[in-house]
């Protein structure tokens, strides 16, 4: 699943000090549950993204433990209070060992 994975982040570029902002994230991934059979009737092995870790200047915002019950192209929305300018970093951990990353800076005005 390492090829063709795209990440999408939506959050404001600027915020007032102390403002609570909403962060939306999505990554393209099949999230193969491990419970389906292929056309030959053989079980298809589980292949999912099992962790999403969002940090702000190194400090955890959310740490998400995903299981096969999360839909294809995992989407997560959450909030963060920003008190200073900094960098949001996102890391998605694939079962196959790949790590997909993205980052977005926020400027406090």
């Amino acid at each position: 699943m390492a090829g063709g994975v795209r990440t999408r982040i939506k959050l404001p570029d600027t915020a007032a000090a102390g403002e609570i902002i909403t962060i939306k994230t999505q990554v393209t991934h099949l999230m193969e549950t491990g419970h389906r059979l292929d056309s030959a009737g053989l079980p298809m092995p589980r292949s999912i993204i099992h962790r999403l870790h969002c940090t702000f200047d190194g400090e955890t915002v959310v740490d998400v433990d995903l299981r096969p019950g999360i839909s294809t192209n995992p989407f997560f929305e959450f909030d963060a209070r920003v008190t200073r300018s900094g960098l949001f970093e996102f890391a998605w951990y694939d079962d196959d060992g790949s790590v997909y990353t993205a980052s977005e800076a926020v400027t406090v005005t």
């Binding site: 419970h35 299981r67 839909s71 959450f78």
Partner: protein, 140 residues
């Protein structure tokens, strides 16, 4: 140890049995009660301190929006008792996640009572459930 035909046969047999064993063994999925009990531990369980937003009816169980609002919670867990894997997602909130809110899209295998649990700073666990009807199952 001298390598005799007998020891070789024993080793080969054991290796084959081991391979067979792992190839056949299905990982045992804990049931919903076990998943919930593991999260709760010895903590007191209360209801009503957190909110779980789900539709009452989902036409397509492949993607159902679920939102947990857990003011104050350090960690939340979503459990779908009718799914093959009961634990759906757990989220730890850092200091900045002051609303303790998370929304995502989940798979639901069929009609069921979805459970959300939140671990509060005082160590107690808040619980909320939501009954949902699913027209087309999304697991499998």
């Amino acid at each position: 140890m001298r390598l005799t035909r007998r020891t070789l046969m024993t080793i080969a047999g054991a290796a084959w049995a081991g391979r067979w064993g792992t190839a056949r063994a299905q990982p045992v999925e804990p049931d919903a009660e076990q998943v919930i009990a593991e999260f709760v531990g010895n903590a007191p369980v209360r209801t009503g301190g957190i909110a779980l937003q789900l539709p009452d009816v989902a036409e397509d169980g492949h993607r159902v929006r679920a939102e947990i609002d857990a003011p104050g919670a350090r960690e939340v867990l979503l459990v779908a008792p009718a799914n093959p894997v009961k634990a759906v997602v757990s989220v730890e909130f850092g200091e900045m996640a002051v609303t303790h809110r998370v929304a995502t899209r989940i798979r639901l295998a069929g009609p069921q009572e979805v459970v959300a649990l939140g671990r509060m700073p005082d160590g107690s666990v808040q619980k909320v459930t939501h009954r949902i009807d699913v027209l087309v199952g999304g697991c499998g």
